[in-house]
């Protein structure tokens, strides 16, 4: 039952907060497992468990890479119903957030620290692993490199975007990194200044002088095929149900629009037309983006050409790889991630989120 009002509110015009703190030590990584979202679906269809990763700096901040939910295109197009630039260059990408933002990201409806709704939903697991397996505290070296050597941009709400030194600006969250990480684990700058959460951590290990993560990084074609089919289904389902990543905006706004395109049923080179729903088109566009990096097209031939070509594979580094789980194995130095030697340590918070007061 709610208590009677006892706090004067009208005279108070200024509010402030004290941040919650978390027990993740500096130099440690933290891994999360989410139930929903396209990224989680791709990772789980590859047989992996963890869906997000980050590194703690020990100064009240963590670095991770994530993206807000892209919205529908500003004017509807059958060929690309989802906002293609937002899909191509996920915002904010690599960012450094304080513990209050991390709490909201993990337990709340909030997305990245800079605001907006995140691509991961329904976090079910959260633990940390230390990076001092050989007493050299290599994890802290990696964290410090990200803090001290990566260029940064303040974007409000206590949040900084960071980028690749020598890149064209802040790093973006690029879905194609799950298909091809483009040697970010060796210090290369991927297309679109890209990274995802776990390739960011592998990059920090390399750039801090702790070697290249090379630890079961290649996935066979069967994984690529399964991941693309599962991703398509997930985006379609979320779009249809108005839940999760796509938030129902597309279906609500454009559900009555009908688009025609050639189907895969062809006779003598003439293909019968089909009339896909807007959710099918959105799922095709996202699948294209994951599989080829082409994010401005819903032409299903693009992702089919990857899914149905038995020679295609994927090369990436997953959160489970960073943590040394399953067949990735573990060690204290490269070619293993420097955090992979540790077991899962429980995460504790000093309060149920930020504490607010007004005066």
């Amino acid at each position: 039952m709610l208590a009677a009002a006892r706090i004067p509110v009208h005279a108070e015009t200024y509010c402030g907060s004290s941040p919650a703190s978390v027990n993740i030590p500096g130099g440690a990584i933290a891994l999360q497992t989410s139930a929903g979202g396209p990224v989680a679906t791709v990772l789980k269809a590859a047989g992996e468990i963890r869906t997000h990763s980050m590194i703690a700096h020990g100064n009240g901040y963590v670095t991770h890479s994530t993206m807000r939910t892209p919205q529908q295109a500003s004017s509807f197009s059958c060929s690309a119903p989802v906002d293609a630039p937002a899909l191509q260059r996920g915002y904010p990408g690599m960012e450094q957030i304080n513990m209050g933002a991390l709490y909201a990201f993990t337990y709340g409806a909030s997305g990245p620290g800079a605001g907006g709704k995140g691509t991961d939903t329904g976090t079910l697991e959260f633990f940390y692993q230390r990076g001092n397996g050989d007493s050299q505290n290599r994890g802290q070296q990696a964290a410090n490199w990200l803090w001290n050597s990566a260029p940064w941009w303040y974007i409000g709400n206590g949040t900084y975007r960071i980028g690749h030194p020598g890149g064209s600006g802040p790093a973006n969250y690029v879905l194609y990194q799950y298909r091809d990480m483009q040697r970010i684990n060796e210090g290369y700058i991927p297309s679109w200044d890209g990274s995802v959460c776990s390739t960011t951590l592998a990059w920090s290990q390399y750039m801090s002088g702790n070697g290249k993560v090379n630890n079961q990084n290649t996935y066979p074609h069967s994984v690529v095929s399964n991941a693309l089919n599962a991703l398509h289904q997930r985006v379609y389902d979320d779009c249809e149900s108005g839940l999760g990543f796509w938030d129902g905006v597309l279906a609500d706004t454009f559900g009555a629009i009908s688009c025609a395109r050639a189907s895969t049923i062809c006779v003598f080179g003439v293909c019968a037309p089909e009339f896909p729903s807007v959710c099918t088109l959105a799922a095709d566009q996202v699948s294209n983006c994951f599989s080829t990096g082409i994010c401005n097209s819903s032409d299903y031939h693009t992702w089919y050409s990857v899914r149905d070509n038995g020679s295609t594979t994927a090369t990436s580094i997953s959160p489970d790889n960073i943590g040394g789980w399953a067949n990735h194995g573990w060690g204290t130095v490269a070619p293993y991630p420097v955090w992979s030697w540790d077991v899962a340590n429980d995460v504790y918070w000093s309060s149920p989120g930020n504490v607010y007061g007004c005066w």
Binding site: G16, Y103, N132, Y160, V355, W359
Partner: protein, 448 residues
């Protein structure tokens, strides 16, 4: 013989006994709940004096990591219904086995875009809705077998209301979830206004609430496999007796199983009491930790190390007596509660967390690991020390929460709870544009 000499002999004899125990402790048989990462030699000696690093084995010694994993066999995919309405739930159950029965506990599944052995899918009138829907069974190390999702008929009908059940993890508890039910109307002639909610959690328990939010603790579920799969249900009843039902699939990773199978370590699970730290009048925080495990042999606590975490500073690590906990042994299936652990943060105001790492060994020779933290609660914001709230909507929510709860200070969880209960509508948002935020001073990184 002097007292000092006698003491030396006693200490030497004790050390010899400990050494002999460490050397011989691997000879017992294992009937661990999780399959032993076995075939491999037993855990390398854990030297109590060694520092935390490298106390575990190499991954190349763990069978679950390196042995050839064979793809599972899908025996059957069972549909709950052969035909459904548009938007109606259909439960898909997957039955599979591993070629090597030892690998059966690693089996887990994906149906369409969702994980779980029992997964809810919804009927869709779109004929292309299931074009890419597959059932995948994963074995050890993620090896997989895939079959198409069996087709079912979707009839041209649609329920007037749907109940969507969602969940989220709660902080500072190993597997406590908050479940939320939301009624979605599909062109209904009149609104459905529920007055009570009956919840089933998929583990044989059920509860009833008057609000569409409930919490449930899954932390004591058996951890004999990599994953635990549940179907969570909720039935919302209107005052008239009319009802709407909804279900969702929930899959939880069994970290204790996984840690033992893939890293050869028995994980201690912990639960702090109180859940969040509370400073007493002297500024000290007192916590107790409840510890348990899922191994089928007793666990002996051998070592306790604590690290004091300082913002932006170098953390200090120290050995403390395991007797501090007051827990010498934790039996199989038992929970042990520690003595009160009191930290006076006034003496160390820069320390924000005291991290305890608990180590031990099972009666059959496996290393044991767990951790917990005694933390300094945040100091309430004051005019002199605070982070400014510049978002006018957040400010309005804070003011509303303080008013409704009658509390001087409120937290994110307070605000979110009131939002879910529908009490954050019609906020009085300050029409003035938010003040531009000055970038804070970027803090320094601690030295490695």
């Amino acid at each position: 013989m002097t007292r000092r000499h006698r003491l030396k002999i006693v200490v030497a004899a004790g050390a010899a006994l400990v050494l002999a125990w460490w050397l011989h402790r691997g000879s017992g048989g294992s009937t661990a709940a999780a399959p032993a990462p076995g075939g491999a030699p037993r855990a390398a000696a854990v030297t109590p004096e060694a520092s935390a690093p490298r106390r575990y084995r190499s991954s190349s010694e763990v069978r679950a990591v390196v042995a050839d994993a064979k793809a599972p066999v899908i025996d059957e995919v069972v549909l709950e219904k052969s035909e459904v309405c548009d938007g109606e739930e259909n439960l898909v159950t997957v039955k599979a086995h591993a070629p090597d029965p030892e690998d059966d506990p690693f089996l887990h599944y994906m149906v369409g875009g969702s994980t779980g052995q029992r997964v809810i899918v919804r009927g869709s009138s779109d004929p292309k809705a299931y074009d890419h829907a597959q059932v995948i069974a994963f074995g050890r190390n993620g090896v997989s077998t895939t079959v198409p999702l069996p087709r079912f008929t979707v009839k041209p009908c649609k329920a007037a209301h749907e109940l969507l059940v969602t969940y989220r993890m709660l902080p500072n508890r190993p597997s406590e979830l908050e479940l939320t039910a939301a009624v979605v109307a599909h062109g209904a002639a009149r609104p459905f206004e529920p007055v009570r909610f009956v919840w089933t959690f998929g583990d044989g328990t059920r509860t009833e609430t008057s609000v569409p939010v409930e919490e449930h603790d899954y932390s004591r579920r058996p951890q004999r496999s990599l994953m635990s799969s549940f179907v969570v249900g909720c039935t919302a009843y209107a005052a008239s007796g009319e009802k709407v039902e909804g279900r969702t699939s929930l899959e939880l990773t069994n970290l204790a199983f996984e840690t033992f199978a893939y890293k050869g370590v028995v994980k201690l699970v912990g639960e702090l009491e109180p859940r969040f730290p509370q400073a007493d009048a002297d500024g000290a925080v007192t916590e107790r930790i409840r510890l348990w495990h899922f191994h089928d042999r007793p666990v002996q606590i051998r070592r306790l190390q604590r690290t004091k975490l300082v913002v932006g500073g170098r953390s200090t690590v120290e050995e403390v007596s395991p007797g501090t906990l007051g827990i010498g042994q934790i039996g199989a299936g038992q929970t042990a509660e520690s003595q009160p652990i009191r930290i006076d943060f006034r003496q160390e105001p820069d320390v924000y967390s005291v991290e305890y790492y608990v180590e031990g060994v099972t009666d059959d020779g496996w290393p044991v690991s767990g951790n917990f933290a005694v933390m300094q609660p945040p100091r309430p914001p004051t005019p002199d020390h605070h982070d400014p709230v510049v978002d006018p909507v957040l400010k309005a929510k804070i003011l509303r929460a303080r008013e409704l709860l009658g509390k001087r200070y409120v937290t994110d969880e307070d605000i979110w709870r009131l939002e879910r209960e529908g009490l954050m509508t019609n906020l009085k948002v300050d029409p003035a544009p938010p003040q531009p935020e000055a970038p804070p001073q970027r803090p320094a990184a601690p030295s490695p």
